[in-house]
């Protein structure tokens, strides 16, 4: 089988070394159809067993191998090396998250935000022993938002964190919207209230970076914009209802 060389320049990190950060170059013999994750695994086997990165499914569904490839965020398993052969490829860990070792980052900020929105269906009561009745149209409305694999790539490109470090993040707001849209969830106002602040929907710059990079084509900005509209509608409704009750009480 024909092989050609892939040159990977990898940002390394090991706090026990001096210096703790360095860049290391590896040459990999590639095979037809090879992807970046396979190249990294080959380095770990044959050249440097101390190189660290996460992996599991190798099929772009588990969300383990998000990283920065020549400045762009991607899942390594979903990145063919074919497009990387011309020049040296720079591999860096996913931005935003603290680096633990090499390409492994601490994802706990993402999951802390995840817990804040109570991310589980608060179901409406239904007849015993049967499912909620739901139309395909209703399902299809929710469907784009449940494709999220929580890989953290959208956190890595989101500029909103520069202004508000505790911003919930695109994936988490998409998750909140998923429950808001779901006709089976009894929450409505509660979800909107939980995101109605500058760490929530009002923190977003609406520059659609997350929509562009998402490997599963989830559109978090659309979710955020729609939730903002819903909140404004609520405010308007509650303003009018307060106004009219004020009018009623003053006319008495």
């Amino acid at each position: 089988m024909e092989t050609s060389a892939l040159i990977l320049k990898i940002k390394r990190y090991n706090p026990e070394k001096d210096p703790p950060r360095w860049t290391e170059t590896f040459n990999v013999d590639t095979k037809k159809g090879m992807n970046l994750l396979e190249a990294l695994l080959q380095i770990q086997d044959e050249q440097d067993p101390t190189l660290f990165f996460r992996y599991s499914c190798r099929g772009a569904v588990c969300g383990s191998c998000g990283m920065k490839v020549n400045g762009k965020l991607a899942l390594a398993c979903r990145t063919p090396v074919e497009g990387l052969l011309e020049e040296t490829t720079l591999i860096e860990p996913l931005p935003f998250f603290p680096v633990i070792r090499d390409l492994i980052v601490d994802m706990s900020p993402l999951f802390e935000h995840f817990r804040k929105i109570e991310p589980y269906l608060h179901g409406k009561p239904v007849m015993p022993e049967r499912e909620h009745i739901m139309t395909e149209e209703e399902r299809k409305a929710v469907d784009p938002y449940i494709q999220c694999i929580l890989c953290g790539i959208c956190f890595g490109v989101c500029p909103a964190f520069n202004r508000e470090a505790l911003f919930f993040g695109p994936a988490i707001l998409a998750k909140a919207f998923r429950f808001l849209l779901d006709p089976r969830d009894r929450r409505d106002k509660e979800i909107l209230e939980s995101v109605n602040h500058h760490q929530g929907v009002w923190g977003c710059n609406t520059v659609f970076q997350c929509v562009k990079v998402c490997p599963k084509e989830v559109p978090p900005t659309h979710a955020i914009v729609k939730m903002r509209r819903n909140i404004l509608k609520y405010r308007l409704v509650s303003f009018f209802s307060r106004f009219s009750s004020l009018c009623r009480s003053s006319s008495k």
């Binding site: 067993p49 992996y55 499914c57 099929g59 499912e131």
Partner: protein
């Protein structure tokens, strides 16, 4: 010595593990999950096509029932499944699937708003409930959401090094946080193994890279037998090149399998069910086509979806389309998908009863690593997700009811406390910890020796070549010999890194140890079983032989390899018959 303590410790964060955790937590026990990856990275996430339950939601000439589901499962198993447990799965499955829907699983819908169901291989009815073609992803995320809501603690990126057994009882495990320089004893009244399959002992497998069968080995090493391990499922349709799964749902929606001559070759192998024959039959047919010159480039056949049309593909099979485009550069709307068979699933595993109890008190197992024997010699598509939920819940419930409330009087308050509980036996933990430390020391002091990955790659090639879809005595004998040799070479392996934390080589070493033993058990079982049944096909014994082989294999670890014993199959309603489709 620092020690963690829980009423119930679950090893593995896939569907079976999470479902067990939820059940045990709701019963008021102090539960924790330990997983070598974040739960959402578990292999369950990759399941695509669906989950079987006889709701009868789709109009068919005859009504479906859980009894029909049982029959299809038993026939599909080539009559090796234990029929009493199949009945439990098919009956309780209805409840488990409804429960998943109520917890938020976004199942596709019928016109009247019920859970949609599609036809699947070896089933007489459209019985497979699905969420487009991302059913596993949907179910796993929903269960993880529930676990988050219940605040069940998860030891993420921790390895289970060994089971700790004292006085004939599993009293917990020795654990190892991947990024820390320590081993940690975790004491548990009940330990539930839910560690999934071993697909990565094969070169061609649909499984995630993390599926190395470590959980099966932990039990085997602790003296438990492994049941029916020679029954290895090969999926007919994995993407040529990467062997990523292409769901049976693609054929359920009407996809064709086509050879290089343009023939729908299943006509010759399963004239009635065609592409929707059970997996063992379709996988063998496909491999035979390829072996006999019917393959493209001698290596693959085509899965053709084009006639389904753009709309149906986008609606029902969007994940498959994305996989084909990402990993093969092919849009199935326009071109057929190149596919070949690959290892997919383990029918065998750690023997359990209907409540997940293993022969070792205090130890339970559920999901793919277990063998309650609902799949027998061949699993039907859509039954594995069902098994994880039904028997995950059962194991969690039984473990919770078996926990001695007196011994664990602190109950929920004791959640992960450092300290000891009840009749804690520190010596058993200390001995194992010392053994691992000195083992690592020995390994790192060996100057010469091969790297693990060479042995691993040889093992994988060997298993696919000689213990694959078609088996014969000469191949199996040579495989057995070769595995012995690999085990010997394994004994001379040296590694460079001396420390526990961040030690890839050591983890690889431990995983390879398990892989070699699991491979040996599969090979020995296959060599001994002189018949063909379900997924186990011997070219030298092509017929099923109920008189001698309608029985389960139990393999025990001995210094000389696996010692095999056999046990009767439980038959309740359906006496074995010839299996035609």
């Amino acid at each position: 010595m620092e020690i963690l303590s829980h009423d119930i410790l679950i090893i593995g964060g896939g569907l079976a593990g999470l479902r067990a955790a939820i059940e045990a937590q709701k019963a008021g026990r102090d539960v924790a999950i330990l997983s070598k990856v974040h739960p959402l990275r578990s292999h369950s996430v990759a399941a695509q096509g669906g989950i079987n339950a006889a709701f009868d939601n789709v109009p068919a000439p005859v009504n479906d029932s859980w009894e029909n589901h049982s029959f299809d499962t038993i026939k599909g198993s080539d009559y090796l499944a234990d029929q009493d447990v199949v009945e439990i799965m098919c009956r309780e499955g209805l409840e488990r699937v409804i429960e998943m829907e109520r917890w938020g699983t976004l199942f596709s819908r019928t016109e009247d708003g019920k859970i949609a169901q599609r036809p699947f291989g070896g089933a007489g009815f459209p019985r497979t409930c699905y969420a487009a073609d991302r059913t596993g992803h949907n179910l796993l995320h929903v269960l993880y959401e529930q676990v988050t809501g219940l605040r069940i603690p998860v030891y993420e990126e921790w390895h289970a090094l060994s089971l700790v057994v004292a006085e004939g009882r599993c009293i917990g495990i020795l654990a190892f946080p991947l990024f820390e320089e320590r081993t940690v004893p975790i004491q548990a009244e009940a330990t539930i193994l839910a560690t999934g399959g071993y697909g990565r002992i094969y070169l061609r497998s649909t499984n995630a890279i993390i599926n190395t069968g470590r959980g099966c080995y932990l039990a085997y090493q602790a003296g438990l037998p492994l049941e029916d391990m020679e029954f290895v499922q090969f999926h007919p349709t994995s993407l040529f090149g990467t062997n990523i799964l292409i769901t049976e749902g693609a054929r359920g929606e009407g996809g064709y399998l086509v050879n290089v001559k343009g023939e729908r070759y299943m006509e010759r192998y399963a004239p009635h069910l065609m592409e929707l024959g059970p997996r063992d039959i379709v996988a063998r047919a496909t491999q035979r086509e390829i072996d006999e010159g019917g393959g493209f480039e001698g290596q693959y056949v085509h899965l053709d979806l084009r006639h389904l049309g753009r709309e149906k593909i986008l609606d029902r099979l969007p994940g498959i389309r994305q996989i084909a485009m990402d990993f093969a550069g092919i849009d199935p709307i326009l071109n057929p998908i190149p596919i070949q068979p690959a290892q997919h699933y383990s029918m065998g595993g750690i023997p359990t009863n209907v409540d997940g109890e293993t022969p070792l008190p205090g130890l339970y197992a559920a999901g793919e690593c277990a063998c309650v024997s609902v799949h027998g010699a061949n699993r039907l598509g859509g039954n594995s997700l069902l098994e994880t939920l039904v028997f995950g819940a059962r194991a969690g419930r039984k473990a919770a009811s078996n926990v001695n409330p007196v011994r664990n009087s602190r109950g929920m308050i004791s959640n992960g406390v450092k300290g000891e509980k009840g009749d804690f036996n520190p010596l058993a933990f200390q001995n194992q910890s010392a053994a691992f430390q000195s083992g690592l020391h020995d390994l790192s002091s060996r100057k010469e020796g091969e790297p693990c990955f060479r042995l691993r790659d040889e093992l994988k090639a060997l298993m696919t070549d000689q213990v694959g879809i078609f088996r014969r005595e000469s191949d199996l004998l040579s495989a057995k010999e070769k595995i012995r040799e690999l085990k010997e070479r394994f004994g001379r392996i040296g590694i460079k890194q001396k420390r526990l934390a961040f030690n890839n080589e050591w983890i690889q070493y431990l995983e390879l140890e398990g892989m070699l033993h699991v491979a040996e058990v599969i090979t020995e079982g296959a060599l001994a079983r002189k018949e063909s049944r379900g997924s186990h096909f011997r070219t030298d014994y092509p017929e099923r032989d109920d008189e001698h082989w309608l029985r389960h294999t139990f393999a025990y670890k001995t210094p000389a390899g696996a010692r095999l014993e056999y046990k009767e199959v439980k038959i309740t309603t359906y006496p074995p018959k010839e299996r035609t489709y």
